[in-house]
């Protein structure tokens, strides 16, 4: 043992602090700087920009719309996603093993594609429709997190409540036990719904309008002022109400987090007993099919029809479809490859940065989860502008990377980091500290401990986080437009192609993009036989 070795009792925090510093410098500070700057329009202190927040009736109504739409869409997502998860995890639903993972598939298509497909089929419009479609598009978050919550409850706890208080109380107990997970899912749905302006706008073309606040924010950026101008300051300040809404939701989630000990992987654990559905089997099966039908079958079907020329007046033909796909493959395969590559790098970056942050969040610093949520809570355009200002500053070395994919990967990585931090922190919380301690006592170094102990145990969650970061990067449009290397990203091109009336090529591209998004899920199923939805 030799002489005296003096060391801090808390080793391993240096990596964390370094990563946190980089995250704060590259993502949080630029945003804070933007907000700070909004108090100094035209170079001097003024609250003018902030005074104009919600100053008009229109914006107030839009914010109200946002809140109502956010709430209703979240409710739909919880009902459909959470309901499907409950059926597949808790009951003897036929095909539960297949239907569970299928509840994740709506993530494969961007919400606007789901919306356009729906509009192809129905003239229904208005708030409930927008809420339903946004709910369907984001229900996978609710499904995955509800499934995770249900899997982490010890069946004996449920059974003891069942014996003591009856069925209803037992189910209520279950609900309370996985409330934190359900609310975490709801929070994610809410964040994504509140920042979406494309779908509400798409459906407001017909009579009843439901414009939302995110559109007001977006409109402010559509006539941007020079950096430092009052107009630019107003654009920044205008996102504050959305942040406030999300902050409120986050507060509720954090309060609901279970105080008791979590089920750890080493615990003596019994899964929840399955309930027999009896006569309810058929209705339950139909219910569980809603999400895959609306979220994947409908858009896939409509996009295939688009590729076959359904939007033109000539009718559809197989030849048109083949030609559409041929054009995409010959003209856009390079962009498609670039897009999938960028998304994969972004997913990887999310995992790498989230790991040390999540580890500390789980062990000692739960505030990191709230901090990491900021880049997702602000409108995409705001994050994009913040990144442009930082990475294009000629005095900083980052400017050399401005025009490279590194900026895009960093942008996506930052935006979707909270999903990684939330999921991995939850997974890390389930690893007893004694796992690492046992390895430390063996005299093993930190690298080997990560490789042999924590790494393999967090791997399923890390893979899920990677897949989520990858898929969400394929749906992100705002950053792809603002950040220069986003130019060749397919979602941006898809929006353009459809806008300029090339729906046949657009349909084929949307289908191929969805297939590309499904690649890692398919690979995972092939390799492990599991979709890993409860690993989030």
């Amino acid at each position: 043992m030799g002489g005296k070795v003096i060391q801090s009792a808390r080793p391993g925090s240096k990596t964390f602090w370094l990563v946190l510093l980089v995250f704060v410098l590259l993502a949080i500070l630029p945003l804070l700087y933007l907000f700070f700057g909004s108090f100094f329009p035209e170079g001097s202190f003024s609250l003018e920009a902030w005074r104009k927040i919600l100053a008009t009736e229109t914006e107030r109504v839009q914010l109200l719309h946002s809140a109502i739409l956010g709430g209703l869409a979240t409710l739909f997502a919880l009902l459909l996603g959470g309901g499907t998860a409950w059926l597949t995890e808790r009951t003897d639903l036929p095909m539960a093993r297949a239907l569970g993972p299928m509840a994740l598939l709506p993530l494969l298509f961007p919400p606007i594609v789901v919306a356009m497909s729906f509009a192809d089929l129905s003239t229904a419009t208005g708030l409930p429709v927008v809420a339903l479609l946004l709910g369907v598009s984001h229900a996978p978050f609710a499904a995955a997190l509800t499934a995770r919550g249900l899997r982490s409850i010890d069946g004996r706890l449920y059974e003891s409540t069942l014996l003591a208080r009856g069925r209803l109380r037992a189910e209520l107990f279950l609900l309370r036990q996985c409330l934190a997970d359900i609310l975490a899912g709801a929070l994610l749905v809410l964040v994504f719904v509140l920042s979406n302006h494309g779908v509400p706008e798409f459906f407001s073309v017909k009579k009843k309008s439901w414009f939302v606040y995110s559109e007001a924010v977006f409109l402010r950026w559509s006539a941007p002022g020079k950096p430092g101008s009052l107009r630019a300051a107003e654009a920044v300040a205008s996102s504050a109400p959305l942040l406030l809404l999300i902050g409120l939701a986050l507060l509720i989630c954090l309060r609901a987090r279970r105080k008791g000990t979590l089920v750890t992987v080493a615990s003596d654990f019994r899964p929840l007993p399955l309930r027999a559905l009896g006569r309810g089997k058929l209705p339950a099966l139909l219910f569980a099919l809603i999400l895959p039908l609306l979220g994947i079958v409908m858009p896939l079907w409509r996009m295939l029809l688009w590729s076959a020329g359904s939007t033109a007046n000539h009718g559809t033909s197989m030849q048109t479809a083949i030609e559409s796909f041929r054009r995409v493959v010959t003209e856009l395969s390079g962009d498609l490859g670039y897009t999938l590559g960028m998304a994969a790098l972004a997913g990887g970056l999310v995992v790498l940065v989230a790991l040390p942050l999540a580890w500390e969040a789980a062990r000692r610093k739960p505030w990191i989860e709230a901090l990491s949520l900021i880049p997702l809570a602000v409108p995409g355009v705001l994050l994009g502008v913040a990144l442009v200002r930082l990475w294009n500053d000629p005095h900083l070395p980052l400017a050399r990377l401005y025009d490279t994919p590194a900026l895009l990967v960093a942008g996506y990585g930052t935006r979707f980091l909270p999903l990684g931090v939330l999921a991995l922190a939850n997974a890390a919380r389930r690893l007893p500290a004694s796992f690492d301690e046992a390895a430390r006592l063996s005299g093993r170094g930190p690298v080997l401990r990560w490789l042999k102990i924590q790494g393999p145990l967090l791997l399923p969650t890390a893979v899920s986080v990677f897949i989520l970061g990858y898929i969400l990067s394929l749906r992100e449009l705002d950053l792809a437009v603002i950040l220069p290397p986003g130019n060749d990203m397919v979602p941006r091109r898809l929006a353009n192609i459809v806008h300029f009336g090339n729906e046949d090529v657009g349909g084929a591209l949307a289908v191929l993009l969805a297939l590309g998004a499904a690649l890692p899920i398919l690979m995972r199923i092939l390799l492990t036989g599991k979709a890993g939805r409860a690993d989030l």
Partner: protein, 376 residues
């Protein structure tokens, strides 16, 4: 190899541990007993280097592990630790766990597993595929891998079925005596403590209450907690402050060493039912039978201090609350001064029904102990 702990302190939020002074000899098993939350696990973690002490020192052999300005990291202490709940890595097979922990080859790991009593057919299994006892043996083997200079066991038999405990206890005793390393085990289970311990330390409220050989502590516990814990005694407070103090059962001399409040520690066999009138009984001077272990007790290392006292005692009427059986016979729950007490019926005695009143009195010299609240 000797482990020496001196003036060790630890504080976190409302919890305080120490000052602790302790010495554990190589080749012997020192068992720390006490209630949950008493600081047992924290003490083990401080020794292992998993927590940093706020004062005091820990020395193993000639090496200072923890002391002013010194903190040897856990990884460098060469300490084997069997965690409460075992902390077996769920994704690693039994043999791989031992190899990873001990940085050793397959042969050595296999031998260790066999020594810990895990048959070769189970070496390729994941922890989830092992029974409680098998997992326990794996945890012990893993802790012994890498030739630790100290072995720490935290509630080692907690997840083991009762009928498998004997075998494991034998293994643990053998392993503790085999090497030169001291073994520290913490538990809140008296059977386990008595079965494993060469030396016993009672820890409660973050402090050591008393220590000694198991036989001494069972024969002459000084503290109400020890009597309750080891002898299943019920405690009846004694009133007054002088050398003679009284209660419903009479008046008793208090030993010189006892400072502060005193109490009677009443083992189930100390009380008996008196038939007939209210006259005082003449109890026997020494116990005939009791809950003490049947094994011959080793020579005491404690100074001989009288804890028993001669008496004439009173009898009193006590309502029967309940009755039940265990390996000692039929036990009555009776009420004295508003508290439940256990009374062991003698063979052949009629068994009163709950709700009846019985006249009870002492049958043998009771133990006078320090009431709860003090420490060593």
């Amino acid at each position: 190899m000797t482990l020496r702990i001196s003036e060790l302190r630890f504080a976190r939020k409302a919890f305080e541990l120490g000052p602790i002074d302790l010495e554990a000899q190589g080749g012997r098993m020192l068992v720390l007993i006490g209630p949950s939350g008493g600081g047992k696990t924290t003490l083990l973690r401080l020794i292992a280097g998993l927590e940093a002490a706020s004062g005091g020192s820990i020395t193993l052999g000639d090496d200072l592990l923890t002391g002013p300005g010194t903190f040897v990291p856990a990884a460098a202490r060469r300490v084997g630790f069997v965690f409460q709940g075992l902390a077996l890595w769920p994704h690693m097979k039994a043999l791989a766990q031992v190899r990873f922990a001990g940085k050793c080859g397959k042969k050595e790991a296999t031998e260790l597993l066999l020594r810990a009593g895990l048959p070769a057919s189970l070496h390729k299994r994941l922890p989830g595929a092992l029974s409680g006892g098998e997992a326990q043996r794996l945890a012990v083997a893993r802790a012994l891998a890498g030739h630790p200079r100290l072995l720490l066991l935290d509630e080692p038999l907690r997840s083991v079925d009762p009928h498998l405990r004997d075998g494991l206890q034998r293994t643990l005793r053998a392993l503790a005596r085999e090497g030169e390393h001291p073994t520290l085990c913490v538990t809140h289970d008296r059977e386990e403590a008595l079965a494993l311990a060469d030396d016993l330390v009672v820890l409660a409220g973050g402090r050591i209450l008393e220590r000694g050989r198991p036989s001494e502590l069972c024969r002459e516990p000084r503290h109400a907690f020890t009597a309750r814990f080891l002898l299943r005694a019920d405690i009846l407070p004694l009133q007054g402050t002088g050398p003679k103090r009284g209660c419903a059962l009479g008046s008793f001399s208090v030993p010189d060493w006892l400072q502060g409040e005193a109490a009677l520690a009443l083992r189930p066999g100390d009380l008996r039912i008196h038939q007939g009138d209210h006259s005082q009984s003449q109890p026997k001077a020494a116990p005939e039978a009791g809950p003490l272990p049947a094994t011959p007790l080793p020579a005491s290392t404690r100074p001989a201090t009288p804890t028993t006292t001669a008496f004439p005692t009173k009898t009193l009427l006590a309502p029967v609350l309940d009755r039940h059986f265990d390996e000692r016979g039929c036990l009555l729950d009776i009420e004295i001064e508003g508290q439940p007490f256990s009374l062991l019926l003698r063979p052949g005695e009629p068994i009163p029904d709950p709700g009846m009143q019985v006249r009870v009195g002492l049958d043998r010299t009771p133990l006078v102990v320090q009431a709860d609240g003090g420490s060593e």
